[in-house]
Every structure is written in C-alpha cells, then in structure tokens.
C-alpha cells in the first residue's frame, strides 16, 4: 500500500505525469471510438441504400419516408 502511494506520487510530480497520460488516453480512445462509429454509420447507410435499390422503387415512392433524412 505504501509502495503504491509512493509510486503514484511520482516523486512529487504526480500532478504533471498522470494528467499527461490521462489526456493522451482520452484523446486516443475518443478518436478510436469516433472512427469506429463513423465506419459503422456509413456501413449501415450503404446497406440501407443497397437494400432499397434491390427492393421495389415503387413502394418507396408510395411511402416516401427516407430513414436517413
């Protein structure tokens, strides 16, 4: 326990070491999540459009609610 708190104190520089790691982790995890989400989002849009193209255009024209709009 004592060893852990000594380690976490970072020789008195805890207030500088840990925030720099935390900020890096935050930015990099955020970018990873956002990139995954963007990929899933456009893949879903494409799947919906392709399904629409294979399906009958007439049905869509009769009920013109586009899920993407």
């Amino acid at each position: 326990m004592d060893q852990l708190s000594t380690y976490l104190a970072m020789g008195g520089y805890a207030a500088f070491v840990w925030p720099s790691y935390a900020f890096a982790a935050l930015v990099m995890a955020g970018l990873a999540l956002a990139s995954r989400r963007a990929l899933r989002h456009s893949a879903r849009q494409l799947a919906a459009l392709e399904a629409g193209d294979r399906g009958d255009r007439r049905a869509r024209r009769a009920a013109p609610q586009d899920p993407s709009s």
Binding site: F16, S20, V27, L39, A43, Q45
Partner: protein, 255 residues
C-alpha cells in the same frame, strides 16, 4: 466483374487506386493492426510506467516523454503523409489520395493536442513555465491550427471535388511548417531541447529509457495505421453512399 466503364479505365491507370482492392487489403490488415496496436501500447505503458527508471536530472517527469515524443513525432509524420497524399491527389487525381488525407487529419490534430498538452505539463516542472512563445512551441501550435483549418475547409465547402482541391492546396502550403518545426531547435534559441534520438553520433538517451520510448513510438505508429484504415474505409463507403443517393434522386427529379 461487371464494372462501369469509367472504373475500368481508372483501374488500368491506377492499379492500386481501386477502392475495392484497397478495401480488400484493408480488411485483411485491419485486425492485425488493431491487435498489434493494443499489444504495443500495453507493453509500452508497462515499460514506460513500471520498468524505466526515473531520470537523474528530470526525476519522474521523464515519463511524460513516453507520450510527448511519440505524439509529437506522429503529429509531424501524419501531416507529412497528408501533404504527400494531397500532392498525389492534385497531380495524379488518385481517387483514394484525397480520402486518405481527409481521414488522417483528425488523428494528426489529436496527436498535436497530446504533444502540446503533455509538453506544457512537462514544461511547468522542468522549465518553470507552461508555455513560451519560442520557435519550437509556436511552430507546433501553428501545426495544430493547420490541422483545424484543414478539417474546417472540408466541412465548409459542400462540393466534395472543390473541397478536396482547396484542402489539398492548404495541406501543401502548410507543409512549409514541418521543416521549421524539425529544425527550430537548431535555428533559434529555445528552451526546447534539440533532437536526441536521430543524431549523427547515435541516440543521446540511455537504453533503459530509449527502449520504452521506441516501443511507445511504434505503438503510436501502429495505432495510427489501425485507425487510418477504419477511417479511409468509412470515407470510401460514405462516398459510395453519396453516389448511390445522387443516382437515386436524379432520375426521380427528372421524371
């Protein structure tokens, strides 16, 4: 293999420009890149936070280097990649070049932000100040604004072809800043230390600190590649969605 005619001619011109081919390669590489990035980040964090000894001058703050230097390195590498892709886009109209540069920009902005923030957190205990307007720090801040301007330009122009062209020109003009950042520590007096890894006489860093640093640099590199693959793929799909949506709207509007 029933491709529309324009794609056939494009393929013969740019064999590797084919988005379908790119997607096939990306899908094969992507899981490996992601796995390797996670592994290298874990090893790098362990080495950097647990194994590396405190520096005899800087004490424990030397650990900030393990995020600061890889982030700064990647921020510059990413911009160089964007400038190269932009040049290819402008000269050869490579259909993936614009998308690659666009996909890379937010990653580069993120790395630049990490380098700036960790640099401030390192500067305060070691130099006694969060920030100085010296050549290295200022040119790095300019890099951050170049990234933001590049991203904003893509969003400001509706027509993707015109947006790509304007953004590519901005990326190329802004490339002037990269050698300025690199050599700023030699050309001007600065608080920032000069290059200590890539030197004529070999690295000026002890192995116990150099190894964790190199692992972290590799980790950031592979992380960048892994995310870039996702992002380029997302851009390709988004472009296909736009084309399909346009093809659907136009005949109906004409009818």
């Amino acid at each position: 293999m029933n491709r529309p005619p324009h794609q056939i001619s494009r393929m013969s011109l740019h064999r590797f420009a084919n988005p379908t081919r790119f997607l096939r390669i990306a899908d094969a590489v992507s899981p490996w890149a992601t796995g390797l990035a996670v592994l290298l980040l874990a090893v790098g964090l362990y080495l950097g936070l647990a194994v590396a000894p405190p520096d005899y001058q800087q004490g424990q703050t030397v650990r900030i280097m393990f995020v600061h230097v890889p982030a700064a390195w990647m921020a510059m590498a990413c911009y160089s990649l964007m400038a190269l892709a932009s040049a290819i886009a402008l000269i050869w109209k490579h259909p993936l070049a614009d998308l690659s540069a666009k996909a890379a920009a937010p990653l580069g902005a993120g790395f630049t932000a990490i380098a700036l923030v960790s640099g401030a957190l390192w500067g305060q205990p070691m130099w006694g100040t969060w920030w100085v307007w010296d050549a290295r720090l200022t040119s790095f801040l300019v890099l951050f604004f170049l990234y933001l301007g590049y991203i904003a330009l893509w969003q400001a122009i509706d027509d993707p072809t015109r947006a790509a062209r304007a953004a590519a020109i901005l990326a190329l003009v802004g490339f002037v800043n990269i050698p300025i950042i690199k050599f700023s520590v030699d050309w001007w007096n600065t608080l920032h230390q000069p290059a200590s890894i890539v030197r004529m006489n070999g690295p000026a860093i002890d192995v116990s600190i150099l190894v964790p640093l190199l692992v972290m640099m590799a980790a950031f590199n592979v992380y960048f590649v892994a995310l870039l693959l996702w992002r380029i793929k997302a851009e390709i799909i988004a472009r296909r969605v736009r084309t399909l949506a346009l093809a659907r709207v136009e005949p109906e509007a004409g009818a």
